[in-house]
């Protein structure tokens, strides 16, 4: 009887600890990753090729409109300024070749002159990506469904205009307080970039060649990089800006 009780007591602690540790490890190391799906961007877009290679500015694609709204992702109209494939001409050529315009693979394989002659890229990989964009989106008149790493839901109103005059240099004073909000390395550069995009967006995206996968939360649909409300609030509070509900919600 004594013996059993002893073993019971001992057995009472060990399994408990095993269970405790197991879920602790799982809960910290494994489970958080399960919340996210990895989704690739619809086509390979290299910022490096456009910025470094073609010497484009950020503002070439991401600019303010006259009414103060921000253009965000460029539309086909903007892209077509350089990727000068005439959709009508291309569609006619596709029809002539007897290809179903929704059969992208066939079009890409067919090497249609109206498309191929107007591709701007140098090497094969890039050309393939450009061709994919032209065939799947540009000539179809469909906008590319880019995935926004800084995705915010419809109930959030964000004004780029209100943040455009903020500089990284100014914000560097608050780097300690903002260590959970902004990637600390943003403040460590020798010379700060003119634009303040790095504060919230993927750091140095203009140098990026292969865009990273978009990590989508399986429950909420948010990006892993979606800035949560407390981050916005922290910075607003530090900068003496209002944190009223309607400052950011709609």
């Amino acid at each position: 009887m004594e013996e059993r009780r002893a073993s019971k007591r001992c057995g009472g602690v060990l399994p408990f600890i095993i269970g405790f540790l197991a879920t602790c490890v799982l809960g910290w190391a494994v489970i958080p990753g399960l919340f996210f799906d990895k989704v690739e961007q619809p086509v390979w877009f290299s910022h490096a090729v456009h910025v470094d290679g073609q010497g484009m500015d950020c503002e070439s694609c991401h600019y303010f409109r006259d009414d103060g709204s921000y253009a965000g992702f460029p539309t086909n109209e903007v892209c077509a300024e350089c990727h000068a494939v005439d959709p009508e001409e291309a569609m006619e050529a596709i029809a002539e070749a007897g290809i179903d315009p929704s059969d992208y693979d066939a079009i890409m394989k067919a090497e249609i002159g109206a498309i191929e002659d107007n591709l701007a890229s140098g090497d094969d990989d890039m050309m393939a990506a450009e061709r994919e964009y032209v065939v799947k989106y540009l000539i179809q008149g469909k906008e590319v469904p880019w995935l926004n790493y800084q995705f915010q839901p419809d109930n959030v109103y964000f004004s780029h205009a209100a943040h455009k005059d903020m500089t990284i240099e100014d914000m560097a004073e608050l780097k300690k307080e903002l260590s959970d909000v902004v990637d600390p390395s943003v403040f460590e550069a020798e010379e700060f970039p003119e634009q303040n995009c790095n504060l919230c967006h993927m750091k140095d995206i203009h140098l990026n060649d292969v865009p990273p996968a978009f990590q989508r939360n399986i429950l909420s649909g948010y990006s892993k990089m979606t800035m949560k409300m407390w981050k916005c609030e922290r910075c607003h509070a530090l900068k003496g800006q209002p944190n009223a509900c309607y400052t950011c919600h709609k």
């Binding site: 095993i18 197991a22 879920t23 799982l26 809960g27 489970i31 958080p32 919340f35 709204s69 419809d154």
Partner: protein, 648 residues
Amino acid sequence: MSVARRAFIQMSVGATVGILFTPTVWVALDDVSIWTQNWPWIPRLKYGEVKSVPTVSKMCDSGCAVKVRTCAGEAFAVAGNEDNPLSGGGVCPLCANSAQVKNSPNRIKTPMLNGEEISWDKAKEVVAEKLDAAGSSVAVISGDQNGTVNEVFSALLADKGSDAFYMMPCDMQAADKAWTGLMGGYGQIGYDLEGADVVLLAGADALESWGPTVANLKAFAANGSGKFLFAGPMQTKTAAVADKWVPVPAEGMAAFTLGVAYYVLQAGMTVDVADFAPFRAMVMNDYSPAKVEAATGVKADRMAAIAKQLLAASNPVVVPGGSVAAHGAAFALNLLLGGAMKAVPEFGKAVSTAMSRSEMLNKDILEGVNADLLFVYEANPAYALPEQVKAGFTVAFDSVNTETTASADLVLPTLHGFERFDDLASPYGVADATYSLGVPVSKPSVNAACAATFVLGLADLGFETFEEVLEAKAEAVGADMDALAEGGAYVAPGETPVAAGLAANVLGKAAVPVKGSGALGLVPYTLLNVGTANRATTPNAPCTISNNQLLGDKMVVMMNSATAKQLGVGVGSKVKLSGGNGECEALVQVFEGVLTGAVAAPLGMGHTVGDEFSKGKGDNVYKILTVSSEAAAGASTWAGSTVNVAKI
């Protein structure tokens, strides 16, 4: 209890405690609440450049000059067009919902021949064939009162040797019959509501449904010091903001107007026309206030007071509504007063063989239409005039499904107003000749086409496309196409009206009130949010329709408490209204703003075809309207309709 099981339980407890020390549970809780903010079945917004593009919307009878707000090229809302005098920044409740109608599932998606989908080429073949076979037995019913599309249709008729052009019944028609027909006047009558200092709305529900409603409302708002008097059988929304409501039965409107004219003549006012003396004698003898009071129930001192106000005004105007006689009487009174009534000159034609507007208004649809081949353009006669219209083969042009398209042999989808070229040439009632142009704002979302361009392909009328017709129209108007496309209107001032006579002998007879044989007078009224004869209510408008018009799926009719008492009904009583050749079911609402002995019923409900917002909602009052012939004026009218009301 075995050790293993106990160990398992203990481990589970440990695991449960352990997980609470990780972010898992808390993050999951947070994610679940975020999930509730972004449920996958809740539609997402689309973002892009927001623009305001000027065009015209023709949902309401007169049409609205609007700016369509688009986001990433997709129309989502409608705003007024401040630069256009027809809007001045305002929009009517029907046109305010136009962008939603454009995307409505009720749009006709492709041409249909007897219920079968066909191609446009096939449709053209069919129509060409029918046109050949019909010879001159071709007719057109147009639901557009002021568009150049009518020129194209009338030119087609001219080409086939037919003059059977019909417009849906409207006050513009009565006005034209009275003005150009009886009184030999020139131009289209207009009313300067903004400049007038006393406005007597004699049956014209000008601030709700009559004429260029939005322009009227703007004029009313801009007219700071003017007095607005409303005469009519019911306290309409116009009456709610007017300075005074004078209850006058619809069939008595002409007599009432002449009763007012009596005092004006007594004050010595004259008009320089040939038949002034007989007119004066007719009014003084037959329309003395005592006689008018006996015939209409309007007190003599009421009319005297109104006449006094009109006489004291420097720029008064009387705006008629209803029968031809009511229009004639009002025009005569306006000529006597010499105030703010205008004659608006008609713009030049784009299509040389087309009819003039007055010619288009000549035929009376209430007297019936019968043709081998009938074109119906954005009108809904099968709903509003179910008994008058007959045809061997009907071609219906419309953008949405209606009773007319449902019963037509061939249905041809027209482009929605925001997808096409269209125009507004001097909607009836404007004081100045006004021309506005509408340009496409969105890409077509269904396999629709421009009706006028289709018609141009049927006969050689000198144009290939409707856009070319409109270019010619702009040139004929003398306006700059580019300025028009930017939303500005071309305006030429209205002129002083000149008549050949006052139609004394006709008016004298036609103004006698004639009432049907039913127990109660029927007061049909139009609210734009409920819909018009041609357009049913729109998706967002039902929220604005009060329970005084519709309760559940039941129509509501209104009467004052004296009438209700007399009928032995109360609020919520279910009644049957019978009149004309039909019956309507309704619930009773007591509203003290209705003439005693009359029942007010909303027009525009009771659709049997259409979307869920209009179909099966309420009852169709057009069924119980009685067409009576204004023999003296040579016209037909709905005024004087009566009904019998039975409790069920």
